[in-house]
Amino acid sequence: MLTQDKTTQLAPETARQTMSGAEMTLRALLAEGVDTVFGYPGGAIIPIYDALYDFERQLNHVLVRHEQGGIHAAQGYARASGKVGVVFATSGPGATNLVTGLADAQIDSTPLVCITGQVFAHLLGTDAFQETDIINITTPVTKWNFQVTEASQLPEALAKAFYLARSGRPGPVLIDITKNAQLQQFDFPEYQPCNHIRSYRPAPIVRPEYVEAAATLINQAKRPFVLWGQGVTLGQAEEEFRAFIEKSGIPAAWTILGAGVLPTSHPLNVGMLGMHGNYGPNVLTNECDVLIAIGMRFDDRVTGRLDKYAKQAQVIHLDIDPTEIDKNVATTVPVWGDCKETLPMLTALIEAKTHPEWRRRFEQYRAEEVAAVIQDELFPTSDELTMGEVIQQLNELTRGEAIVVTDVGQHQMVACRYARFNHARSNITSGGLGTMGFALPAAIGAKFGRPDRPVVAIIGDGGIQMTIQELGTIMQTGVEVKIIILNNQFLGMVRQWQELFHERRYSFVNIASPDYVTVASGYSIAGRRVAERHELQSSLREMLQHPGSFLLEVMVTRENNIFPMVPQGCSVSEIRLR
C-alpha cells in the first residue's frame, strides 16, 4: 500500500477522557473492529480527516476518486468479508454521491455505516455552501439514519449505527455529523457498543409449531424444491443449509446473491433461478409440490409473472424479515427467524430422502439446456469469442477459488450462470438495484476485505466507463484487482431487449470505448487486449500471474443474446431457450 510518508505517528491515548467529536468517531470505529475506511475528504469533514492523520497505523483509509466509488468499494468490502463497510464523505455533493450506493446496499441487504460531514448546526436550513438535507434525501434508502449536532450525541449514535447495520437483516446506515460536533471537545467515557434498541427486533422469535408444520410438509412432499438466497450467507448458515439439503435430498437452486453457498459442483445444486437462470429450475418451479424458500425474497426477476408462479405448490418461506413473508408469494407455512436458528430445527425434524426420480427431471432439463444454449456459449465453433468461453477458461484457471465481482448487464448474467464458485461470498454483484459502474470499485473493496483471495472483476464496456476513474484508486493504493472487460461494443442487455421486443431499433446502445489498455497504462496498470481464441487462455493466465492489478480487454461477439430468458410478463414455465 502506498501511504503518505510521515515522521510522526501518535499512539492512541487510552487514558485521555476529553477529545473532539472527530477523534471520538475514529475511536468508535476502532472499537467496532473497523480496519478499513473508504472515503473522500471535503470541507465539512475536515475535522475527521484531521483526526485520521493520527490514526494511520490503526485505520487504513482508501482514498477513492469519487464518493460513489467509495460506497461501492465499501459494499464490496462488506460483501467479501462479512464485516461492516465504512465510507466517509463530505456534505452536499459528497453526500449525494453516496445515494446510489445506499440504494444498492439497502436492496441487497449490505451492512454499511456511512459517515457524512455536514455544515455547522447553526447553518442548517440556510442553504449554506455545500449543504444538502442528506437525512431526508437518504431516508428511503437507509435502514436508519441520524444527524448529530453535538459531540455528546456521537457515542450512542455510532454504536446504534453499527448495531443496526450488522444485526437482523443488514443494511446501510448513515450518520450525518455537523462540523461543530466534529470539532467540539467533550468528555468521552469508555465506548459502549450497542446490542439492544427497545423499538427494534433484529430477528423474530422462532415459533416451533411453524417449523414442525414445515417439516411435515417436507416429509410428505414428492417433488420438493429449495430456492435459496443471500439470507443463508447473511445468517452465516452455510453449514446448516448444507446439512439440511444433504439430509433432505432436495434439489436446490439459487438467486444470484445466493451463489456459492452450495458449491457449483454439489450434486444437489441444480442451478440459477430467474430471468436468465437455468432451464430446469425455472420450469420445475411450476411442477414442484412443495417450494421451500430460504433467505430469498421472490424478486420479480426470479418469479416472472406472479399469477402463474408456483400456484400448484405449498410454499414454505424461511426469512428473518417478516415483511418478506407473503409480500409477493402467498406462503402456506411461514418460518420467521434467523435461518442459522431455524434450519437446524428443521433438519432435526425431516426424514432423510434422496428423491431420485424428481432429481432426474432436473438432469433432463439440464441436458436440454446444454444442447440448446450452454455448449455453444462455452465451447463455440464460430470465429468470434463469446462471453461464456471467457468465463469457462477463467474457471479452469481459478478452479472456483476467486471472488468474482460483476457489473450489470449481459456479462453479469453470463458470469453468474457460468462462473464456478466453491465458497459463499464469492459472487459479488449488484443484484436488486442493477447498478452499472458497481464492479470496479466493489472489486477494489472486495480485495481489501479479503486480501488472501484473488479478486476478478468482470465488467462490460458500458459499466467500466461509469466508474473508470477508480483505476486511480488502484494506482495509488497498489491493490491487486484483475479486471476483465468483455467488450461487445454495445450496451448489450438493452440492445438484446431492443432486438427481441423493439424490432431491432437500436436506440443509443452503440457505445464507443477508449483504448482501455492505454488508459490502464496511464494509471500504471498493466493490460492486454485479446480478440483471438488462441490468445485467450494465455492472456488470462498472464493476467492471473501478473504481480499486481491487470486489465484484460476481451473483444467478444457483438450481437450475442443471453438465453435462456423469461421474457417480461411471462411465467417461469415460458422460459425461452432461444
Binding site: H122, T149, R198, T323
Partner: protein
C-alpha cells in the same frame, strides 16, 4: 392481485413509536413511494409518556394495508402497528365552523342548530361566531351543508383520532415495557438561535 378494488374500504392504522425527529417522514415515504394517498394522519403522545401514537386513515384493500402495516412496523423506531376497520375502532374528527354573527343571529335558530348537530359555540365576536363539533365524517359534513346558507366563512376539520376497541392487552404490555425500558429524550438542534455568535467557514 387477489383482491378486487371493490374490496377497498377505510382502514385505521395505529402505530406506537418512539418520539424521534424524522420518523414522520420515514412513515410518510412508505405511502408515497407506493403512490398511496393518506386520507388522514394524526400524531400525538400516547397514554404512555415517551411513546407516540400515529393514527393514519387509508382507503385500500386489506392485502395492501397488511403489507403497509408490516413495512411501518419494520422501521427501527416503531414499536407496534395495528390496522383496523372502522367497525373495530371508536373514532372521532373535530371540526370548526366560522360564520358571520349578524347572519347567524338574525336568520338561524342557533340553539336548535347546536342541539341537532351536537355542536357548541367556541367564540362569539361582533363580526363572527365559531362553532365546534366532533363526530364522524358525515356528521361534520352535515353541519357544513347546514351553515353554507348562513355565509360559512371558514371550515376546518382535524385528522381522525381513533381508539381500538380491543386494546387492553397491548396497553398493559406497553406500560410494563416503558417501565422496564424507558425511552430516550428527543434531541433537537439547539444552535439555530445562536447564529450570530458562531464563526464558521
Amino acid at each position: 392481485m387477489s383482491e378486487h378494488p371493490i374490496d377497498r374500504q377505510e382502514y385505521n392504522i395505529t402505530a406506537y413509536t418512539e418520539n424521534q425527529i424524522g420518523l414522520l417522514n420515514r412513515i410518510a415515504i412508505i405511502f408515497s413511494r407506493r403512490k398511496l394517498n393518506v386520507e388522514s394522519l394524526n400524531t400525538s403522545p400516547s397514554e404512555i409518556e415517551g411513546i407516540h401514537r400515529f393514527n393514519i386513515v387509508i382507503h385500500e384493500t386489506e392485502d395492501v394495508v397488511r403489507k403497509i402495516a408490516k413495512q411501518i412496523e419494520k422501521q427501527v423506531e416503531v414499536l407496534k402497528v395495528y390496522y383496523n376497520t372502522n367497525q373495530e375502532v371508536i373514532w372521532q374528527e373535530m371540526a370548526l365552523y366560522k360564520v358571520p354573527t349578524d347572519v347567524i343571529a338574525e336568520k338561524a335558530s342557533v340553539e336548535r342548530l347546536l342541539r341537532e348537530h351536537g355542536a357548541r359555540v367556541v367564540v362569539i365576536r361582533k363580526d363572527y361566531t365559531v362553532f365546534e363539533t366532533t363526530g364522524h365524517r358525515e356528521e361534520t359534513d352535515m353541519l357544513i351543508k347546514v351553515l353554507q346558507p348562513y355565509g360559512l366563512i371558514e371550515f376546518v376539520r382535524s385528522a381522525r383520532i381513533a381508539i381500538i376497541k380491543h386494546s387492553d392487552g397491548f396497553n398493559r404490555k406497553l406500560r410494563e415495557f416503558e417501565r422496564t425500558e424507558p425511552g430516550s429524550e428527543v434531541v433537537e438542534n439547539e444552535f439555530l438561535n445562536n447564529r450570530d455568535e458562531v464563526f464558521s467557514m
